[in-house]
Subunit: 347 residues, 2 copies
């Protein structure tokens, strides 16, 4: 089967989906895959236990016609150490899926499963782009009708200024290709707007970002980013991960409180009926499922990491992101930029 | 005047307030000071330009009866470097105020002005508690009817595990004395709940916190903290500052979006009338003014840092925090704890 994939370069972008990963796998993953295939012009390959995929489709009344299956008999749990998956689970959906994706320039891999394993298998099978120091996970934070890209949100807990410079370059390319922003405003997340604010790493990073071939607008504070201050916000994976989860937690908390406001008495319940639709639209604006997943940038291929609690809608939208990333040629554009950067350094 | 303060140890707690600091100084600061004096059993000293304080009180129709004024002729701007204030602005409200507070065990200092200057002057005049490695700024994040203490939110951009251990101890004492929590749940902000998650500093900090004489419950993620997972959340000042400001930014953004929902059309505007009161109550639950300010922990005295945009209500509530901190004996309790910690290390 692998042979076939290698030789027959599909004309359409191919999205290889980890059918076994995530809280609602395989049912919701398969549903999302079918929806994505119907809505976007892509080929779909489901990586996972074939018997369970077929059983799930039957149970849910879904047709797998036109969808390829890459059988993977091993399971990866959320607790599996990435290093163990690489060594001992080469027949898992994540390993096989990333391996398949590495063999075709027009294929992307997508998983809502073990993030560490997806990252490790992507690195092993697709490899890092030459010249890239560290890959980064780039996610989209919805801001009502706007949004910003936040990276890194978890690939690197410890950081060097040189990494952050590359994150700025990669984030800028992502923003250009996916959101068609002509000159993305790239900012460094920091504790003050002045150049000399922050910890040692951020002071040095500021200098490097200023000299990168991007539209670097300087430091932004935690407050500014929710006020459309930048299109791309760069930070280390420790801060980014905490911030991303805090955003989720706070949004959840906020909507819980709003619900309580409306459930106070008969009159407020009546009021809830009136604003129900508008409120639903507002809630959607904060919904990570709208963007489907985060992009692992810096590897020689496309890997999308979806939220563990992804349902069909998130998977469908992650497919859109995968297709867009392939069509936009994000990987080759990062390669060009890093190449010219390193050539300039040498000259 | 200083002589008088030294010799006549007031029976009531004394709050020395920087009348010149903050966006709405001196009017709102003086209003808040008068409200606080009326509501809590405290003496008030206003540190600042006497002529301007008197003029402001006259303009606002406020009586300064019973309130002391410590005249301070120099101004500190938000841009003044803390080191310059220490060296060249010894006649500023912040310098004089911290100096006065240092001379009386029952006095606290409060400023909504230049945070760096307030910190630096507190360190110079009140000095660090012996054995404390670094002071930390501890703030309260409101969570509806609940809340948690977050520290450090800005005193230390670069951090060592030993600092975080002490932050846990100081935060626990703060929570006990101010919120009367019997056994505060202290947690380390991290990217995963497992002990070995995070960056190098957090892994080491986890070990140290586990062995501290506090109710350490382990790591919490950005999501958990909005779900009442801990009473005290410990982090470095870089992450804490970004998170605190992100919290403010997100809350502002949410309420802006909610407003739009209600302003959509006639019917939704009608609905807004119905839930208006409940919504206002909800908004109050997110209001930092309810807690008035952040406590600078680790110095041999009480300094409260209020938000730059503090109005009278925030200053009034900061006075409550100052009085509570003095009455609770937070400083002597931190001293005891750090002493016994260091004695244990030596024995």
């Amino acid at each position: 089967m692998e042979e076939k994939v290698i030789s027959s370069l599909p004309l359409k972008p191919e999205i290889i989906i980890d059918a076994m990963g995530g809280d609602f796998a395989p049912d919701e993953i398969i549903k999302g895959a079918i929806q994505g295939r119907a809505d976007f012009d892509v080929e779909i390959t489901l990586a996972g236990n074939k018997a369970r995929i077929v059983a799930s489709a039957e149970r849910c009344g879904l047709s797998l016609e036109g969808i390829r299956i890459a059988d993977a008999i091993q399971d990866v749990s959320m607790d599996d150490a990435p290093s163990d998956v690489i060594k001992h689970k080469k027949n898992s959906s994540i390993y096989i899926g990333t391996e398949l994706a590495s063999k075709n320039r027009n294929s992307a891999f997508l998983s809502a499963g073990n993030t560490g394993a997806a990252m490790a298998c992507s690195l092993i099978n697709m490899r890092k782009i030459e010249g890239i120091l560290r890959p980064a996970i780039a996610t989209v934070i919805p801001l009502g009708s706007k949004r910003f890209i936040l990276l890194d949100v978890g690939a690197n807990a410890d950081i060097k200024p040189e990494y952050l410079k590359q994150f700025g370059i990669m984030g800028s390319i992502y923003c250009k290709e996916i959101f068609k922003t002509t000159k993305p405003r790239v900012a460094l997340l920091n504790v003050g707007s002045e150049e000399k604010k922050g910890n040692e790493v951020s002071k040095e990073s500021h200098k490097l970002l200023k000299n990168a071939n991007i539209n670097f607008i300087g430091n932004v504070e935690g407050r500014d980013i929710f006020n459309d201050a930048a299109d791309v916000v760069v930070c280390d994976g420790f801060v980014g991960n905490i911030l991303l989860k805090a955003f989720e937690g706070m949004a959840g908390f906020f909507f819980k409180e709003i619900k309580e406001v409306f459930y106070s008495n008969m009159m407020t319940k009546l009021s809830a009926l009136i604003v129900r639709n508008n409120l639903r639209v507002m809630k959607q604006k904060f919904d990570y499922e709208e963007y489907g997943g985060a992009l692992l940038l810096g590897i020689d291929g496309i890997t999308i990491i979806s939220h563990g609690s992804s349902k069909a809608k998130a998977i469908r939208n992650a497919i859109r992101l995968g297709a867009g990333s392939l069509k936009g040629g994000i990987v080759s554009k990062i390669k060009e930029e890093i190449n010219s950067l390193n050539n300039n350094l040498e000259s």
